[in-house]
Symmetry: C2
Subunit: 210 residues, 2 copies
Amino acid sequence: MTDNGSVPNSKKTAAERPAPERRGELLATAAEVFAAHGYNATTVRRIADEAGLLAGSLYYHFDSKESMLDEILSAFLDELWDGYDAVLAAGFGPRETLEALVTESFREIDRHRPAVAIYQRESRHLARQPRFAYLADSQRRFERAWLGTLRRGAAAGVFRADLDVRLAYRFVRDTVWVAASWYRPGGAHSPEEIARQYLSMVLEGIAVRE
Amino acid sequence: MTDNGSVPNSKKTAAERPAPERRGELLATAAEVFAAHGYNATTVRRIADEAGLLAGSLYYHFDSKESMLDEILSAFLDELWDGYDAVLAAGFGPRETLEALVTESFREIDRHRPAVAIYQRESRHLARQPRFAYLADSQRRFERAWLGTLRRGAAAGVFRADLDVRLAYRFVRDTVWVAASWYRPGGAHSPEEIARQYLSMVLEGIAVRE
DNA sequence: TAACCTACCAAACACTTGTTAGGGAAGGAT
DNA sequence: ATCCTTCCCTAACAAGTGTTTGGTAGGTTA
């Protein structure tokens, strides 16, 4: 009985926000609908329907449809980078870094599946809008982290050096993140188990060695 | 294979068809815009703009925005299955079949990049509509072809048997098709070259062997 | 000449979209 | 009781949507 205790309304910064608990519920259903049908194809009435209120009422909590999307994506990316930065700061070798990044990614997919699906679908054209410039930033950091790890590994002789590193980067990146399109939490495999098998395929290949 | 004939501009009977050459141009630009911004986010006025005519004029050539999408997707799938069926009928072993399927896929991406991008983005929810039921059919055939090849290979000892075949299937499938999101025809690598490197990664892995 | 066909335009149609304005019920604080 | 805050509803708005209708320039055929 400790979860519904204090009301942190006055503790937040400048922007006065209504009760953050209802907000979270609404954002969760909005994310679910965005992920299922795409941002543009999702009407604000549909979100309201799914959440059990009327379209106009959403504007008590948010000032636009776009800001819902914004909040969903930035919350996801914040958490993602918390995890990634921890991995990158740990001083692992290239192979261990790759393994940790992949595992962390599948954990994020587990926690933020709708947000990841939306990101995959919309980030490319959203990144052009000034409001979503942080998406482009994130993509650059992303590339730096993964490509750097792959290059370090190739130089250290733990990853194959005969591959186009950029192709390998896209290969690993896509391999991991498209999983969000079919992954369902609570399924047969845990995020860690999926990460283990994916890593096994990416690192060792699916062919039998002789 | 999916549908009836190839020119569905039939308000009455398919007695006469307008010049198919202009049709092809319009479909190509429509596919390009759909791929760039998503089907729902694309207005019919935007397509017309890009093609150099007015929105209403598109309805001389097509009877709806949806039928443009239909024609783009089914044309792509028809060609894809021509290639796949040829491979599957060739009587290759599992490994050669996999290699041929991957190579053929990258060739299709090269030829139908916009259609592939649209397919990736929209097929999931389109498949629920009766009109696009052939998308679901195609996906089932797709799964049978790839999964069957992987199973045959695991049984024959050329693919690893310790992997979840379903995971491996999704791994290979996604790995190949997401390439459409970044591939640009006329780039540094030919489809065959990309296929070669992807196959090398999928089959042998990116780690150095000892 | 006239009739005809192709490929388009101009203007509107009905409908959906995101968003806003004003109001009101519930409940706690004073 | 009075006030205030929270959360939602009703009802509308203007802009944008896919689509239809009727017309027409220009070429081809009779």
